[in-house]
């Protein structure tokens, strides 16, 4: 690994944590134990809070961020960038509510580690509209009443736009198959299919 240009962790925070965890350990445990465990414990604690630099573009806006490796793209979008359009449904890759586009492809942001998105271009539901004009798919969801509670809708719309761009919206059956990763518990499926069909017939998503 010595010849690897690796991404550098933020050392200042690590040194800070080393000092503070040592103090905490000394207060909490018998001195003999502390001496033995001290170094390992420090390393471990520091590692757990270490952040990594991350540069990405979200909805055509560049960001330079620091994230812990465990932060998912969904949590980054919602908690750090306050783009709460992408929804946390199951958070386990089963419902599709968190669907976003990464470099133009639809993916599940809840199963994507943010740290792995370095240099990528992300589009969320907030990035679909142009100025005050809604995206044709957003218009179609309103026109065809493609939702009830609306919780799955951002994921449905992101998926629907991709479905057309991929060329997988040529029939009702194909739309249903290629939209199967987006669950709607209200059961708005017929209206969602109608909306997608309408937009596909008018020449596409993006």
């Amino acid at each position: 690994m010595s010849n690897e240009p690796e991404e550098k962790p933020s050392h200042s925070r690590r040194s800070f944590l080393k000092r503070t965890t040592s103090t905490a350990a000394i207060l909490a445990a018998p001195p003999v134990l502390v001496k033995a465990a001290d170094k390992k414990l420090d390393e471990k604690a520091a590692q757990y809070f270490e952040t990594r630099p991350l540069q990405l573009e979200v909805n055509e806006k560049p960001y330079s961020l620091q994230v812990e490796p465990r932060v998912t793209l969904l949590d980054l979008l919602r908690e750090q960038l306050h783009l709460t359009g992408s929804k946390k449904g199951c958070d386990l890759g089963q419902c599709g509510a968190c669907t976003v586009h990464v470099d133009g492809k639809r993916v599940l942001s809840c199963l994507s580690l943010a740290v792995m998105q370095n240099g990528k271009k992300i589009t969320t539901i907030e990035g679909l509209q142009k100025g005050d004009d809604l995206h044709p798919m957003q218009e179609a969801f309103i026109k065809y009443d493609g939702f009830q509670c609306g919780y799955c809708t951002p994921g449905q719309i992101m998926s629907a736009v991709a479905c057309i761009n991929e060329g997988h919206a040529t029939s009702d059956t194909e739309i249903r198959e290629y939209m199967s990763g987006n669950i709607c518990r209200c059961g708005a499926y017929p209206n969602i299919v109608a909306a997608i069909k309408d937009v596909a017939g008018k020449g596409g998503g993006q």
């Binding site: 690994m1 010849n3 690897e4 240009p5 690796e6 991404e7 590692q47 757990y48 809070f49 270490e50 990594r52 812990e68 490796p69 465990r70 998912t72 958070d91 386990l92 890759g93 599709g96 669907t99 492809k105 639809r106 993916v107 599940l108 199963l111 994507s112 580690l113 740290v115 792995m116 998926s159 991709a162 479905c163 991929e166 997988h168 249903r176 198959e177 290629y178 939209m179 199967s180 990763g181 987006n182």
Partner: protein, 326 residues
């Protein structure tokens, strides 16, 4: 999720090096299974080695084979013109798996390494010999509707969940692996293992080894007549109860050779060699298909809730062969 260290090597040698130096390290590519398992605390790597920067994405025609890089995305393989033309069975199987979003993330190597979806494996409050060797198998006497009917042991009756792998097993693929001792090849049917007394091991990869790709031999006659049937609880986006990958080389009415593998029934893609041998040289008739199916089911065993698979599996074999020769 418990936090972890992260590194992104840019060469295969460095990736393998990190894994061999650090016992708590784990490769990540698409992350569609690993991140899920990490969130639930089923897998807790201390270091995650991001291999998505490695040059293993190509899909190429080489001689009489197609070689697919381990990091080729499931969606890219499924939609690739070479694959659609020469290996339509693989394309079908890939499209039958997961959702469009997951196929855009998941890689070929990761698909091969995905863990079982057994509920006892996923729930850290319940016993599971695969997750925690020696803790017992909750499924054996428990809710085992999704579980194995072939090759299970008293330690584990979990099934391998992939669709892609069922097609690759039927297509006689070979797995390319590289590791600290250099590169090696392993037949696809020898890659995954049966649970036996060590169900914690899904496959025969050694510590520190990396899948670099798979090679599939081309067979024009078999490619022309191949079909993947997947039976599941809903029409799309569900794991297989039973699946069948089949390819037949038929001349006139005679079957010159057959390739058959089943999914959702065992701890590994289940190749139906007895049925294949039986069909060779036989006429493509319903009666022969039924006989082949009963040969395939010879050692099948139900565990209660999954007894329905003892009927569903042979029916799916017969149905697939019938539609293939209709």
């Amino acid at each position: 999720m418990i936090n972890f260290d992260y590194t992104k090597p840019s060469t295969i040698q460095n990736a393998i090096g990190v894994l061999n130096k650090d016992a708590g390290a784990q490769f990540i590519a698409g992350g569609t299974n690993l991140v899920d398992l990490m969130k639930r605390g089923v897998m807790t790597p201390q270091k995650v080695v991001d291999i998505t920067g490695l040059p293993l994405k190509a899909i190429e025609l080489k001689g009489n084979t197609i070689q697919i890089g381990a990091l080729a995305l499931n969606s890219d393989v499924a939609e690739n013109d070479l694959i659609k033309k020469h290996l339509p069975l693989l394309s079908q199987a890939l499209k039958a798996g997961a959702s469009a979003q997951i196929r855009n993330m998941a890689t070929v190597g990761g698909n091969m390494l995905q863990r079982t979806r057994c509920g006892y494996f996923y729930d850290t409050a319940l016993p599971c010999n695969k997750r925690e060797p020696g803790s017992g198998c909750g499924a054996l006497q428990g809710y085992n509707r999704m579980h194995a009917i072939f090759g299970a042991s008293d330690k584990c009756i979990a099934v391998h969940p992939s669709d892609m792998c069922i097609a690759l097993a039927a297509l006689d693929a070979t797995v390319f692996i590289t590791g600290p001792k250099g590169p090696r090849r392993i037949l696809f049917s020898d890659f995954h293992r049966l649970p036996g007394s060590r169900p914690q091991l899904d496959n025969n990869l050694q510590r520190g080894e990396l899948i670099t790709g798979v090679e599939v031999p081309l067979n024009a006659a078999l490619a022309q007549r191949s079909l993947y049937t997947k039976i599941r609880d809903r029409v799309s986006y569900a794991f297989a109860l039973v699946s069948v990958a089949a390819a037949l080389d038929v001349k006139g009415k005679t079957i010159r050779s057959a390739r058959l593998a089943m999914g959702g029934v065992a701890h590994k893609p289940w190749r139906l060699t007895a049925a294949e041998d039986f069909l060779k040289g036989k006429e493509a008739t319903l009666n022969n298909f039924q006989q082949a199916a009963s040969l395939a089911m010879k050692d099948a065993k139900g565990y209660g809730y999954n007894n329905f698979k003892l009927t569903l599996a042979p029916n799916t074999i017969v149905d697939t062969l019938t539609r293939l020769t209709a």
